[in-house]
Each structure stands twice: as structure tokens, then as C-alpha cells.
């Protein structure tokens, strides 16, 4: 079974909806429960929202991943925006620089199983998250 790779360009608030819908479809195809598919779709929504709020445009890539004896979904959010100067601070609940709720990143971390972030000021941000099928 191959679900391939899906890329969604994030340029407007409409794309946030599109990305999370595609993520839900892929998660369901991969055999995730409705509950887990909702967590994944919600995480994608937050990641896409961060792209719009901080970088204005970017991309979400969805793909199937294989672990040792498990399958999962990988969601990678990339942008060429201003980057995050202090990642540790950005991962704290309640922190925001764009006037939003600021729950984005720590929340996404709780929704998913694996969370990785790389950011360089002035170069952009990559957030890579995974969820494994139960």
C-alpha cells in the first residue's frame, strides 16, 4: 500500500482548510481511527496557521512513514519566513509574537507522537511531526 506524498501550498486561509482536509483523508486511508484523524487534522490546521501568521506562505507535506513494525503519517510544515529566534520560548504554552493565542506549537506537540523543529532567523522554519497508528 502506498499513499504517496501530498504537498499543499499554503498561501491563504483557504489553504489551511484544504491542508487539514487532505490530512484527514490520508490519515483515514492509512487506517487511523476517527479520533486520531481529528488530532492529525487539528495539528495540520495549527501548523498551516503558523505559516500564514508568521511567514505568509509556505508548504505542508504529508506522507506515509514506516517504523520498525508500525505505520504512521508524517506532516512537514516549511516556510521561508522570519524564523523563530528562541525555539524554547516558542514551545512554552502561552507564548506568541503575532497576537494569536500562542498555543500553536506546544499544542501541536501534544497532539502528535513525534515533534521536531528547525529554525534559522531570517531563513525560515521547518516543523516535522509524526503520528503512529495504534
Amino acid at each position: 500500500m502506498s499513499a504517496g506524498e501530498i504537498r499543499v501550498a499554503i498561501n491563504s486561509d483557504q489553504d489551511i482548510v484544504l491542508a487539514r482536509q487532505k490530512g484527514r483523508v490520508m490519515a483515514t486511508e492509512l487506517g487511523f481511527s476517527t479520533g486520531d484523524a481529528t488530532l492529525i487534522a487539528t495539528a495540520i490546521s495549527e501548523l498551516a496557521r503558523n505559516i500564514i501568521s508568521y511567514a505568509r506562505k509556505g508548504q505542508i507535506t504529508l506522507k506515509m512513514v514506516n517504523g520498525l513494525n508500525r505505520q504512521g503519517i508524517s506532516v512537514i510544515a516549511t516556510d521561508d519566513g522570519p524564523g523563530i529566534p528562541d525555539i524554547r520560548q516558542a514551545l512554552r504554552d502561552g507564548f506568541s509574537t503575532s497576537g494569536s493565542l500562542g498555543l500553536g506549537l506546544p499544542g501541536v506537540r501534544r497532539l502528535m507522537d513525534e515533534f521536531e523543529i528547525t529554525s534559522q532567523p531570517g531563513r525560515g522554519t521547518i516543523v516535522a511531526v509524526k503520528k503512529w497508528r495504534q
Binding site: 486561509d13 483557504q14 489551511i16 482548510v17 487539514r20 482536509q21 484527514r24 476517527t34 479520533g35 481529528t38 488530532l39 487534522a41 487539528t42 490546521s45 495549527e46 496557521r49 504554552d93 494569536s100 493565542l101 498555543l103 500553536g104 506546544p106 499544542g107 501541536v108 501534544r110 497532539l111
Partner: protein, 120 residues
């Protein structure tokens, strides 16, 4: 995307769809408050049964709608948050604190009827 708003006596019922964009939500926020003024409504029920994702923006907008409507002297009840959506919201840290919620439309109307009795 249009959100149907139904007038039922002193109560307005707004039914949210699954694929609401931020722009739709913003429009709805103003639209609902204007309708409350126009119809002199005493309460608004926002039915989110069809919403499959409630992220930070949607949640914040719902809270703002409820607060604005309260300033207008009316009440808001959010009904129909799906169990898996509730789970995702709690994981994200979204609580809709200070906003009345009910299981479904029926329970929402029952809650408002009780409220109307005690206030009138």
C-alpha cells in the same frame, strides 16, 4: 461559505459547516451580532456538530462571538462539539472558558428555557 441562521422566537440558531475558513468565521462574528441586534434576540445557539476540526482560531472566534453577544445582553450556547473534537481541543489547551455549552440543539434550547424562566 454561507452559515444558515435560523430565527426561532427570541433565539437565533447558527449552524456551522465543516470547512469554514478564517474569513468565513470573521464574517460570521459580525453577522451574528448584527442579527442579534436586528431581531432583538435574547440568545444565540451555535451548532458546531458538523465541524470536524476546532483549532485555536475557530475556538477563539467562538469565544469572541459569545463575549460580544453577552455585551449586547444576550446569551450564547455552543452545542454539538463532537467527542473527538473535544479531545483535540483539550490537548491543544482550548477550553472555551466562560462560554455555555450543551450536548446538542435540544439540550441547548432546554438550557435557555430554564435561563429565561429565572431571569424573567
Amino acid at each position: 461559505m454561507e452559515v444558515p441562521i435560523l430565527k426561532q422566537g427570541a433565539v437565533l440558531i447558527a449552524t456551522f459547516q465543516a470547512a469554514l475558513s478564517d474569513a468565513d468565521l470573521n464574517q460570521l462574528r459580525m453577522g451574528l451580532v448584527q442579527q442579534v441586534v436586528k431581531f432583538r434576540s435574547r440568545a444565540v445557539i451555535v451548532d458546531v456538530t458538523a465541524m470536524d476540526v476546532m483549532d485555536s482560531f475557530a475556538s477563539r472566534t467562538l469565544r469572541e462571538i459569545a463575549l460580544m453577544i453577552r455585551l449586547r445582553g444576550a446569551e450564547t450556547v455552543i452545542v454539538g462539539i463532537q467527542p473527538e473534537v473535544a479531545f483535540a481541543m483539550v490537548q491543544l489547551g482550548l477550553t472555551l472558558e466562560g462560554v455555555a455549552t450543551a450536548l446538542d440543539l435540544e439540550e441547548g434550547l432546554a438550557y435557555l428555557n430554564e435561563e429565561f424562566k429565572t431571569t424573567s
